[in-house]
Amino acid sequence: MKKTVFFGALTVAALVAGVASAATLDDVKARGSLNCGVTTGLVGFAAPDANGVWEGFDVGICRAVAAAIFGDPTAVEFVPTTGQTRFTALASGEIDLLARNTTWTFSRDTDLKFEFVGVNYYDGQGFMVPKDLGVSSAKDLDGATVCIQTGTTTELNLADFFRTNNISYEPVPIETNAEAQQQYLSGACDVYTTDASGLAATRATFEAPNDHTLLPEIISKEPLGPLVRHGDSEWGDIARWTLNALVSAEELGVTSSNIAELAAAPTNNPEVNRLLGTEGQLGSMIGLDANWAANAIAAGGNYGELFEKNIGESTPIGLARGLNAMWTEGGLIYSPPFR
C-alpha cells in the first residue's frame, strides 16, 4: 500500500497542508504506537541489542509512556535521531516524544518551541585524566592538552572554566566519542572532557579502568530530559506525569516486583492508591485508563530500577546516583504529589 499512500499524499498534499493536526494523544492512539526519538546509540541510554530490541535509560522512558497509553511497553516505534536531526524530527511531527539525553536550556525551551517535561538525569561536564598525571583537581591542569568534541556546549564550558580560573590549555579537537577514546588512550591528550556519564561509560571500556580517574570538578549543569512540542499541553502532561509516576513510585517503594500485588486492591497508603488508580480518578483527568501509572511502572520498573538496570553501579557503566538520588536521600529527583 506504500505507493498508494505516497500518491495519495502527493494528491492531497496541497489540500491538507494548512490543516493543523489533531491532538497528539488521538494521533498516537489511532496509530497504535508511540513514535519516540532516541539517539542512534549511546551507552546505557539507548542502544539496540543483538536482536534489534532497543534498551537503555532513555528507552525506558519511551516504554513507560507507551505503557501508560496502551498498557503495552512494546507499542513504541523507536526513531533513531542524530544531534542534527533530533529537533526537526520533533518539530515536524515525525516523532511524538524525544528522549535523547537532551540538555534542557533556555533557548531550546523557548526559541525552538519545545516543552521539557522534566529531568530524568542530572549530568554535568567532568574531566578524566590518567592517574600517572598526578592531578587531583581540574585547577592543576595548567598547560594541559584537552580532547574536546568540537561544536558542542562542552567546548564553550571548557573555555569558560579555564578562563575564569586563569589557566591555559591546548584543545585537541575530536569529532566523536569513539575518536576521543582512541586519542586519549594513545596519549594524544592529557585530559578528556565531556559529560560525566559519558566519561564513566568510556572509562568502563578501558582495559585498565583503574589507571584513570575522574576529577571532582563538574563545570556545567546538563539536566537531561524528555521533551515534546509546544502547542499540545495535554500531551506534555502525559509525558510529564509518566516520568513523575516513575519517580513517585521509587519514593513510595512501588517496584516492578510488588506492583501487581499493590495494584490489585487498595492499600492503606492513599498516595499509592491514587498513583496506581485503585482510588480516585487521576487517569481520566489526563485521558488515560485508571491503571496508566501502574502500567508505566510495570513496564521497566520505577525510576530507581531503570537507573540501576541501565546505568547504575551494578552495570559496567557504574554511575553512582549522586545528584540523581531521591530528594529524601540528598539528591534532586523529586516529583510533585499525585493528588
Binding site: M1, K2, K3, T4, F6, F7, G8, A9, T11, V12, A13, V16, A17, V19, A20, S21, D27, T39, T40, G41, L42, V43, G44, A46, A47, P48, D49, A50, N51, G52, E55, E77, V79, P80, T81, T82, Q84, T85, T88, A89, S92, G93, E94, A178, Q181, Q182, A201, T202, A204, T205, F206, E207, T315, P316, I317
Partner: protein
Amino acid sequence: MSDTNTHSVSYVRESMLAESAPPSTETGTIKWMRENLFSSVLNSVLTVLSILVVYWAVSKIGPWFWNSVWDAGSLTECREILAAKGMTGHDGACFGVIKDRWQQLIFGFYPSEYYWRPVLALLVFFVGITPVLFDSVPRKMLILTILTPFVMYLLLWGGAIWLPLMVVAGFGVGYLAMKFLSPVNGLLGTIGAIILPLIFWLYLAGPIAGWLTFYAPIGFEFVPSKSFGGFTLSLVIGIVAIILSLPLGILLALARQSNLPIIKYSAVTFIEVIRGVPLIVWLFTASLLLNYFLPPGTNFDLMLRVIIMVTLFSAAYIAEVVRGGLAALPKGQYEGGDSLGLSYWQSMQLIILPQALKISIPGIVNTFIGLFKDTTLVVFIGLFDPIGLAGAIRASTDWNGIYWELFIFIGVMFFIFCFSMGRYSLYLENKLQREHR
C-alpha cells in the same frame, strides 16, 4: 668430443650437443628476481626496503589477526580470554563482535525469520541483470529482467502481491493504448500510452489492489523501511540508485546537448545545482527540509527520499561522464547519422550512444562505485547503514570500546562489492574493444 661419431673429422661437428640446463642465473625464480627485483642498484635497495616495510607491517598486524578471539560475548570476555593466554587487548583482535552481530551488520533490524528474503532478492537481482551484463545469455531472459524490480520489491518490503501486479498492469494498459490507438493516430497513441497508465495508477490501481487484497490476501509479511539496515540498506539504496541514475543521466546528457533552449538550460541548471552541492546537504534536505514542506502527519518514507536524492545526485554525475563520451565522438558520426536519414532517436540509438557509452564505461563505473560507498553518508540522518550500526553496536555495554574489528569487516564487505564492479567494467571494456580487431 667427437667420440659419438663413427666417421669423425676433427674439425667438423656433425651432431648437436645434448641440451644442457640454462645457467642458474637465467632461469626460474632467480631470473625473475634478477629481472624484476634486483635489476639495478637502486631497484635492489628499493626491493630490500619494501620487503622490510612489508615485514614490519605483517609482524605488527599479523599477530593481532592470528591471536584473534572469535568466541566471546563481550569485549571484557575477549580481554579475559586474551589475558588467560598472557596477552593484553592490543595483542589480539576481538572478532567475537562480528560473530555476535554479523546478522545485524548485514540485515539491520530485518526480522530474522525473513532473512531469506533479502538474500533471495539479491539472487533475483543477479539473475535479472545477467541478460543485461552478458550478451551470451538468451535474449528472452530480458523478460525476467523487466519483472525483476517488482519481484525484488515484493521480497524486500513484502505486503500483498496485488499492488506490484497493478503497477505491472499499468504498463500493460500503456502497451494496449499504444497498440490500439496508434493505428488511429500516432500522436493520440503516444499521448494515450502516457496518460492512460497514469490515470490507471492514480485512480484505479489502489482500489483494485485493496479489493483484491481483501478477498485474496496473497503475499508476504510487510516489513517497514525502518527495519532495513546494514548492508541490506546500503545495497538497496545503491542498487536502486545505480539502476535509475544511468538512464536518467543519459537523458540529461542528451538534453544538455539539445538544440532546444528550454530543455538544454533546464538540464544545465539541474546538473550544475545538484553537482555543485555536497551529497550530505541533499541528504539533510531529504530528511529535514522536506518535513516542513510536507503536510503534518504525512510520513513520506525516509528511505524513499534518500533513494530519490542519491539517484538525482548520481544522475548529474553520470550526465557529465556521458557528455564526455558524446564530446569525444568525431562530428562525422553525427553527420553520418543525419546523412543516412535517421531520426534523432534512431541515430542516437544506433550510432552515437553505443560509441559514447563505450568510451564512458570507466567513468560510469567509477561514479557507481563512488555512489555505493557514499551510501554510508546516510548515517548522518539517523539511518542504520553499516557504519551507523557499528556505532549502535558500540553503544551496547557489551561492545563499547571496539573499533577496528567492525571497521575491518565493513571495509572488506565494501571492497568485495566495489572490486567486483571494477572487474566487470574491465571485462566490458575488453569485450567492446574494437580498435585492434
